[in-house]
Amino acid sequence: MTRDYEPVLLANLGVPDSHRLDVYRSRGGYQAIEKALRQHTPEEVVELVVQSKLRGRGGAGFPCGMKWKFLPKDRTVTYLCVNADESEPGTFNNRILMENDPHQVLEGIMIAAYATRAQTAYIYIRYEYVRAHRILQQAIQEAYDAGLLGRNILGTEFSLDIYLHRGAGAYICGEETGLIESLEGKRGWPRTKPPYPAVEGVFRKPTVVNNVETLCCVKHILDRGVDWFLSIGVPADPNNPRDLGSYGPKLYCVSGHVNRPGCYELPLGVPCRELIEDYAGGVRNGKGVKAVIPGGLSMGFLRADELDTPLDFSSLQKVGCLGLGTAAVVVFDEDTSIVDILHRSCRFFAHESCGQCTPCREGTAWMYRILNRIRNGEAEPSDLEILLEIADSIGIIPGTTICGLADGAAWPVKTAVRKFREEFEEYIRTRKGVTVG
């Protein structure tokens, strides 16, 4: 089914000088914004996106059109924030889009700004994305020079300024309110919600925060129509009114122990096994799979017997994962120690916890310490219970933190310990008294 899928988001990948405006235009670029400006009112664009059932690609999968509709009707100023702080371990699709097809990103931003009546857009780009920053800045300049940004774009009433803002290297600034705080020049501490950014965001004004990939999808929805978008992916389960479906293309980032790691554009819902076997060339050295992170580290782990799970917004929860996340698939072969993976995971989240909420600040650090003790042969099997208790009680899902970082820290722990319990117990038993570096 997915064999004959023609890439859309990555259509310009590999085209020489694909980052240049003239190349982008020669391949049909900036027609979608032209269409939006000349044929649609902003409300109609919002309606199109609502109808397309596009869900945010940044991790949470929140319906994009609904987010736009949350903006207060009587607003005078609106800001658009583009989340390019792609920090989820294993994820690199935003980088590929920005480095190879920056004008596609800008066009998506322009359409979203038009739809939400934003006259200012901030692209919050991850500090480490030096190349993407340079290319995007050049593209913005090109667009200004061509009259595609600034006042009265394409001779219409629509005006837009785009500012490229570099983060300072914190994972938490990918959380939308952490991003907003950081953009305002403050410490990147997520805000308590409500108020949501749609009501009170950047500089306390109504704000929309969208991921780069989401906005690129918007461009194609304008280009190709809602029906095209709805024809791709997994339809909503008619028996489950809460299922919003998984429509459209998705960029899957495959990394880890595979033969062909990379970013693959496929319809949502591709089974994990198909992605690994058919696209990423299977596991390196012909080995078996031990575990797979299906959607970025914070989504948790799949076991080898769960690889037929479709990678869409609803299926992963059925096998205990947090969700699709960023669809960054990391594959571990059978020789990898799950304890080592979880140790690194806990270290990452303990390091990146912003320190605001007690459960996350101390809980992530405690989990990391327990993993250290396990690796140092100092742990008891009962420590696994403590580990699970902490993991089960931190995060926005139990309601104990402001943002989802703690959920992301907890899910790898929960899934790893529950799905690989025997290996943990074996490790603790055999490591007792053995010291490792």
Binding site: G185, W189, C354, T358
Partner: protein, 562 residues
């Protein structure tokens, strides 16, 4: 009225009260533990100690509970809100937060000033698990001096960020910040800065644990030995409501007490740490008389009061002027009894208001109002340190104006004395430092001078009789602050040495029976002086004071801001 259900108990809160669930539950007598929430600061909901289960009751009485725990501090109490604070889920969340906060806490309670009034301690006993599950890792106990009055015990901090928000939102000086991330995060001052704003001591009060400690108070007392008394600060006209903490008759600490009519939750460092003068070794402690050229000699109160009364009567009989100068450091009761007695024995006595010390302008906070980015600018200051450095200019003036048409000033005193001389002069001081250079010269013209004061100075040198005065926390009394609010104080300690308040001295001179009780005098004052009528017939004085409506009119001023 909105109906809230707290642990099954229904309570009513007034419409438009804008309460969060912590405050609403408190009305129901239910404590919701919290660290980061403070009513005077913005809500961040980060400590997660106040997590509760919340639901909504509909018109039919059906309750729908939210599946998640929510922070009570950030949840408004609305009609039909159902709060559960004692469920297993809430209890285990509280226990987890306590356990987490104690993971790296040094637990150095035996040497921590906060022990005994520490929320980490109290909540641990109330809500914590009994045993520690995490192995005790080696901990550090770092200390850093962050300012003149404040020291930081870095590792005791629970990261509630109250102090940081205080410096941003109330003092507006922003010296403090959170640095580093995750469980390495600590509070610190910005590089090159010190926490030296005039409100810095408040960060010690609002710190729920022993992280920020007061340097003047450090290691002076275990707090469970301290006895606390309601009082006010008398070093400026703001008249901050305070708590005076004393042990064995020695005051160790002043802390602000909430009063929306004066100071909200705050007080300034000048007032907080400025009571050292009380224990100055130079303070007058015994009555003394002086012969013509000799030093004042120590003598007995009974003797001096006898001779004082005799002198006043003689001056009155001889038809010589009697001048009474009452300082704005006196309480209303002091002034009232003094005027009453002098009017009785010397009907022609003239009353003067002592010098009202003013140092510069009022100091308003926040220094840099919030809102450079985003926030709304606050036009109304959050706190004011008055330039007028005395507690009761309004009160004393009101009392004097009851006894004579106009409360005359120091200049009148000097002029009258210079012109007419006097048979008797009584000067009641109470200024925290020696004063009265402008009066000293003219005292030569008086036959007999009594100075009732704290310190030897130019006036006591000229005095025939020197009486030691009790300071404000050595006496009970009431004071009218810049906003025209009458606040009553309790006596916290007995006066040093043989010092006595003006009120007590006048009570004896009036020959009244029983002990001098300021409350009774205030009742008498309220009946006698219309401006004080609102203070009448009140048996238990309201903690937030009594606004005297007429004060602004009487003093001819615009109402001042809080």
């Amino acid at each position: 009225m909105a109906t809230i259900v707290v642990n099954g108990q229904e309570i009513q809160i007034p419409d438009g009260a804008r309460m969060n669930l912590i405050e609403a539950a408190r009305l129901a007598g239910v404590e919701i533990p919290h660290y980061c929430y403070h009513p005077g600061l913005s809500v961040v909901a980060s400590c997660r100690m106040c997590l509760v289960e919340v639901g909504q009751r509909d018109a039919d009485g059906n309750v729908r509970m939210l599946p998640k725990l929510v922070p009570a501090c950030a949840t408004p109490a609305q009609d039909g809100t159902v709060v559960v604070t004692n469920s297993e889920k809430v209890r285990s969340a509280e226990a987890l937060v306590e356990e987490l906060l104690l993971l790296d806490h040094p637990v150095d309670c035996p040497i921590c000033d906060q022990a005994g009034e520490c929320y980490l301690q109290d909540y641990y006993y109330k809500y914590g698990r009994r045993e520690r599950r995490a192995p005790a890792e080696p901990f550090t106990s770092r200390r850093k001096d962050v300012g003149q009055f404040v020291t930081l015990f870095i590792d005791r901090c629970v990261m509630c960020s109250r102090c940081v928000r205080f410096t941003r939102e109330v003092s507006g000086t922003g010296e403090l910040a959170v640095v580093k991330r995750g469980n390495r995060a600590i509070i610190d001052v910005f590089p090159g800065q010190e926490l030296n704003n005039p409100l810095s001591g408040n960060t010690v009060d609002i710190c729920p644990v022993g992280a920020l400690c007061s340097k003047p108070f450090l290691y002076k007392q275990r707090v469970w030995f301290l006895r606390t008394h309601r009082s006010i600060c008398t070093l400026c006209a703001t008249g901050c409501a305070v708590l005076v903490d004393q042990n064995m008759n020695r005051v160790y600490r002043l802390r602000p007490r909430f009063n929306p009519n004066a100071n909200d939750w705050w007080m300034c460092d000048y007032g907080r740490f400025g009571f050292d003068f009380v224990y100055d070794p130079r303070r007058l402690l015994r009555p003394g008389t002086r012969g013509d050229d000799s030093e004042p000699s120590a003598t007995d109160w009974e003797v001096v009061l006898e001779s004082l009364a005799t002198r006043v009567r003689r001056a009155a009989q001889e038809g010589k002027p009697v001048g009474v100068l009452l300082s704005p450091f006196l309480s209303c009761e002091d002034a009232y009894l003094a005027c009453t007695w002098f009017r009785e024995v010397a009907p022609a006595a003239r009353f003067y208001l002592g010098p009202v010390p003013v140092e510069g302008e009022d100091e308003r906070f926040p220094k840099r109002p919030l809102g450079a980015i985003g926030g709304g600018t606050e036009s109304r200051p959050r706190f004011v340190i008055s330039g007028e450095k005395c507690p009761n200019a309004r009160g004393v003036r009101l009392v004097i104006e009851h006894f004579q048409e106009r409360a005359q000033e120091v200049a009148d005193f000097v002029a009258d004395l210079d012109r007419d001389g006097a048979g008797f002069v009584y000067i009641a001081g109470g200024y925290p430092q020696p004063w009265g250079d402008e009066l000293a010269g003219v005292l030569e013209k008086a036959d007999y001078v009594v100075v009732h004061d704290l310190f030897p100075g130019p006036l006591t040198e000229k005095a025939d009789l020197v009486l030691p005065m009790a300071v404000w926390f050595e006496r009970a009394g009431s004071y009218v602050n810049r906003n025209g609010v009458l606040q009553c104080t309790e006596r916290a300690v007995v006066p040093r040495g043989e010092a006595r308040s003006v009120g007590r001295v006048m009570w004896s001179l009036l020959g009244r029976s029983g002990l001098y009780r300021a409350e009774d005098v205030l009742q008498e004052l309220a009946l006698a002086v219309p401006a004080f009528a609102p203070a009448g017939a009140i048996s238990d004085y309201p903690e937030h004071g009594i606004p005297l409506q007429s004060v602004h009119v009487a003093a001819g001023e615009e109402p001042a801001e809080v």
